[in-house]
Symmetry: C2
Subunit: 226 residues, 2 copies
């Protein structure tokens, strides 16, 4: 520390919220977007809210090259295309933290329904698509984007982190836990991401019924679940 991370899809709802919260925690952030101009505008919005924020925008490719940890916060309908376009930019040793949720909304279905992904989950699709040696963990699915993007909103929830290497999960967790109110829990291997992803669909329904921003918390884990 101070570490720098990249947020691909950083001009979107979840990505911009994550960039804002990490910047507020003192992390340097490179916001990636398909359009460099939009990335720059998103970076400007973060700097306007966080005094002294070290945030800049870039096109997805250069943004992905810039940091060792790359958060992928794009809608499912763009995940595959984004990863295809990043093949020449990601390199061995980088860690991709995939937050993609394959909601049926991607094909004009209900946001409370999921698409079946052949690999089992969006995260496993990501793992299949990244260049050799790039590791993937899955996280952040259930975090409400508007709440994340509002520094005045109090977060109080867990983030289920799934991945095949404990060290990769811990690295992602250390960054995510810089956001006040987010606690990371080891959700198991990357294949378990399908469960964390689908929980998002249920929370979207809960949010609609209860007019709230629900989060998930696992009880019974004691003080230091990570």
């Amino acid at each position: 520390m101070p570490e720098q991370v990249t947020v691909i899809g950083g001009s979107g709802a979840l990505g911009s919220g994550l960039a804002l919260r990490l910047a507020a925690a003192g992390v340097a952030v490179v916001i990636g977007s398909r359009d460099e101009g939009r990335a720059g505008e998103a970076a400007g919005r973060v700097r306007a809210k966080v005094d002294g924020a070290d945030v800049r925008g870039a096109a997805n490719g250069p943004a992905a090259e810039a940091s060792e940890v790359v958060f992928l916060c794009v809608p499912f309908r763009n995940q595959s295309e984004t990863l295809t376009n990043l093949k020449g930019h990601l390199r061995e040793g980088q860690l991709v933290v995939d937050a993609t949720v394959p909601l049926a909304a991607a094909v004009s279905g209900r946001a409370s329904r999921m698409l079946g992904v052949w690999q089992g989950s969006a995260a496993q699709q990501a793992a299949e698509m990244v260049p050799d040696g790039v590791r993937v963990v899955a996280a952040l699915h259930t975090v409400n984007a508007p709440a994340l993007g509002d520094l005045a909103a109090t977060l109080d929830e867990d983030v289920l982190v799934c991945g095949d290497r404990r060290a990769d999960k811990a690295r992602a967790a250390l960054l995510i836990e810089l956001v006040p109110g987010l606690r990371c829990v080891d959700g198991g291997r990357l294949e378990m991401a399908r469960i964390a992803e689908s929980l998002t669909a249920m929370l979207i329904g809960v949010n609609a019924r209860y007019k709230t921003h629900a989060g998930v918390r696992l009880t019974g884990l004691g003080d230091r679940p990570w």
Copy 2:
């Protein structure tokens, strides 16, 4: 109230725990088991722990006939057979609360993996198999059976209740919330049960890693989520 409920699979881990907790809350319980003798023994164990408990055992068929609300707490490998055998015993107007989780352990796979159920979830399979007019809601999947079965254990978690009729979910929730520490949350339509069911597989993995009995809690719902 005082209401009577039936717990099919009431001699198993989850079922016997539920019977114990409901009996301790003053609910009359009929424990159903394939073997009438085992049902009677399970009832005796509850009576030994709860002074004045109104609990009796019966074979599954008569047990299912005895109450308007029937909890189905059998392993997935027995769910279909059990429901086939109950076809002549369940009747229109009854409410079945299905707690079945299609863990891969049913076919000697990992308990942290799920089987794909053609209908989408074990609960939807149950809804397909019950006689016309019998309603099905899904609940209780994520509640740890040993913790439920230990009156000294403090529960502190939510129960995701899924079903197609709000009134049915509310009826199940009122009963379940008689158990101290369990709060019911409307998880959406019955089709959402696949998510609540799969969350159980993740909790099983979490329990193994953290050596605990984890539960799930949704944050942000305020004081009265039901």
